[in-house]
Symmetry: C2
Amino acid sequence: MGKPVAYENLRRLCEEILLSENFGIEAAHEIVDVLLEADLRGIPSHGVARLGRYIKERDSGNILLDSKPSIVHDTPVSATVDGNGGPGQCVSNYAMDLAIRKGKESMIGLVSVRNSNHYGISAYYSEKALSKKMIGIAMTNSYPLVVPTFGKEAVLGTNPFSVAIPGLKKNFILDMATSVVTRGKLEVYDRLGRDIPNGWAVDETGRNTTSPRRVLNNFNSRNPGGILPLGGSEEDFGGHKGYGMALLVDLLSAGLSLGRWSAETYSGSQAGVSHFFGCFSLELFGDRSSLIEHLEHIVDGVVSSKKADGHNKIYYHGEKEAMARERAVTSGIDLDQKTRDSLVSLAKKHSLSIPVELLD
Amino acid sequence: MGKPVAYENLRRLCEEILLSENFGIEAAHEIVDVLLEADLRGIPSHGVARLGRYIKERDSGNILLDSKPSIVHDTPVSATVDGNGGPGQCVSNYAMDLAIRKGKESMIGLVSVRNSNHYGISAYYSEKALSKKMIGIAMTNSYPLVVPTFGKEAVLGTNPFSVAIPGLKKNFILDMATSVVTRGKLEVYDRLGRDIPNGWAVDETGRNTTSPRRVLNNFNSRNPGGILPLGGSEEDFGGHKGYGMALLVDLLSAGLSLGRWSAETYSGSQAGVSHFFGCFSLELFGDRSSLIEHLEHIVDGVVSSKKADGHNKIYYHGEKEAMARERAVTSGIDLDQKTRDSLVSLAKKHSLSIPVELLD
């Protein structure tokens, strides 16, 4: 895998690449900040590995660098934002910051967003509410990869959502795709030549398949088939629940913004991704300090309950990512060879200086 | 199974039973209305089969008939309600109606609730918002039956939540336990002498078990072991996601009301169940009619996508229940023998007239 790359070196290089690609200083900073947060937390699928793809999406006209988001509907506690095709990270920072401003004034802020792009990890935005000791919510629809229960056509995205709830020391930060796995996981199994378990994906007939290659080929040929919702196929393990949550994300993001739902994204001239953001003040329900203490008491109760044989720790949500982040800030960020090669190649293209860790 | 019982006959009998048990006319009406909605929709586990249990809970002091809910914190868009041990249905109607009143005035209403009891099906409350063309939310914690990922102790409830979103004709009504199955499902398999699939439950060591009897025995003996969160054991199928959703329900209901979380319910003198209710006006985000049309367009898009081989229909959430309801309103409600016997016995105890369908 090569040497880990120091956070500051990687940030500098990625920002310089985007600047050289005419992304503008603010967009470069915002995009790289979100991507690096994913790498720091051990979620490389949403990290700087995406940089090349974002540049391609700018080239294809999905990401419009000169456009700014606009507010198309506004109330003291809510808004609908048109991203106007801007970078997902910039549009989403704008929308979540708007929600938080409303939340600070009115205790609640809800913002639906249309015509945006891939925004990175959901937790980046939900967590912004934590610094104000508010509850944060973020969700997005995405490229259609997931089949509804009893269907065989991938019309839903992996449609992730995140809810961040403050504690004394333990912030609960749920960030989950509503599918059983993501496309990246299938690609990993495919590269390793491994079968995927029954219950992850279906083939072009809508039946369970253990071949990741078959699913990926069907995606590439735009055949039916795709990834299953959380809970798997049919209803025995609750696949209809994951399907319901994926559809819920589409209804709240695309539905409430008059935006494109998953099946309509990345078709025609724009990506047209939709998001939904929200924040709530704890003062809606009582004294803030008492509530935070009580929220922590609940999280404490769960993680201190008895462990299954063979396990010595129950994690709360966000804990693994916080631990990975702490390690990576000190010892650097691991990048796979493909990502290293792509960064080096982009650096050379623009004659940028390359961090030594990438040259080993 | 015996003859189906006409809705009106069953309602009259159940209300008379509760009246004879001194529940009071309003409480009797509210409780039976919620329970019968479950039976009508084909969810007998939450139907009038619970009547005997509610009477026992009144006897044991969990359900306090003479208490009324009180508002302990209040803002124009939110409140915290203390149920003071009242029947879950009465407390929840009070709290959801309060949320809707606030929603009508302020476009948003959020209400957290503590010290309540079992409230029946979540969708009953979330749906109340639909008549006002608002989005409704309802969730509750519950008796601890579910183990967190890498744990073996049932500290979380099946913690269901419901979101109801209006459409033109197709109302999306998600109502799901955050566990892979409910206790009732294990009981059915146990009665039939069938093994449960791997991934539904763990034994007292925290390992997967296929024996429903073992899980139920552990519940009865208060041994470790229990039902798995949606996504099953460990993380391969996303069990940590279901665990996160169950914990989220506890944080929003118990956490925001300073109430008891699942592990603390039904211990000591009261049940202490916590709920969370909410409603949102569509006008927060734009013109109501346009949004409703667009929401329906998304649901239409999903259900009209290609079907898996062997299937000819993709359901939207709430559709199966609406279909079952339509049938049951006309042809009566099916009740299992145990429920029939229990109702007949309660009727005889209070010398009430018994519907002929129950005497066959």
